[in-house]
């Protein structure tokens, strides 16, 4: 939290943008994994 306090408002919002984009990308990757048909294990 001390680290966040040292940032400017611009830096805090940029960090949120980067974080949100990463989370959205991970969610999309997770969804794709769920949608992928199970591999044939035979």
């Amino acid at each position: 939290m001390a680290h966040l306090r040292s940032l400017t408002v611009e830096e805090r919002l940029a960090l949120n943008d980067a974080s949100a984009r990463t989370v959205l990308e991970l969610r999309a990757a997770f969804r794709r994994t769920l949608e992928k048909p199970p591999e044939n294990t035979r």
Partner: protein, 161 residues
């Protein structure tokens, strides 16, 4: 869509839209360690200001978020009213709130705001103490977690951490 909430907010301020930043991004701006996915604003509902707001959101291809996903454009009447205009823009989701809990609109919230400098503009944000009070009214688990984070952030400000 490339999510860029900083640019979205900057566009609004650049156009001279009078707004109060509320919600998660207001908490982020004040140092709360949370991640948020949309911009929540309470805008001044004067005709001039709504026209400025409408100009920006139209330029960003905004449409109303709704289950049927009919991609309806935001309306002037809607933005002039006290309701919630939940929009999708090319830079990310934008919630234009005419008023929030207990009918708190732009004028009523003003005394509880702090002015920050953002991108060379003055940005009015709802103070952490007010954000916390609003969050404490909600009883769902996520709101309780957010309230705990806001409380801790507020305490760290008080202690000068």
């Amino acid at each position: 869509m490339t999510q860029d909430l900083s640019l979205l907010l900057r566009d609004l301020l650049q156009a001279g839209v009078e707004l109060i930043l509320v919600g998660g991004l207001a908490a982020v701006a004040q140092g709360a360690p949370v991640t948020t996915f949309d911009v929540d604003i309470v805008h001044r509902r004067s005709a001039d200001n709504v026209d400025r707001l409408l100009g920006v959101v139209n330029r960003l291809g905004a449409y109303v978020r709704e289950p049927a996903n009919r991609r309806l454009p935001p309306t002037r009447e809607g933005l002039l009213g006290p309701g919630h205009n939940l929009l999708v823009t090319s830079l990310g989701p934008l919630d234009c709130l005419g008023a929030i809990e207990r009918g708190l609109d732009f004028e009523k919230l003003l005394p509880r705001t702090t002015e920050l400098v953002f991108g060379g503009h003055l940005l009015r944000v709802l103070q952490l103490s007010a954000l916390l009070e609003l969050k404490e009214e909600w009883t769902d688990e996520e709101s309780k977690l957010r309230a705990a984070i806001l409380r801790r952030t507020l305490l760290s400000h008080t202690n000068g951490e």
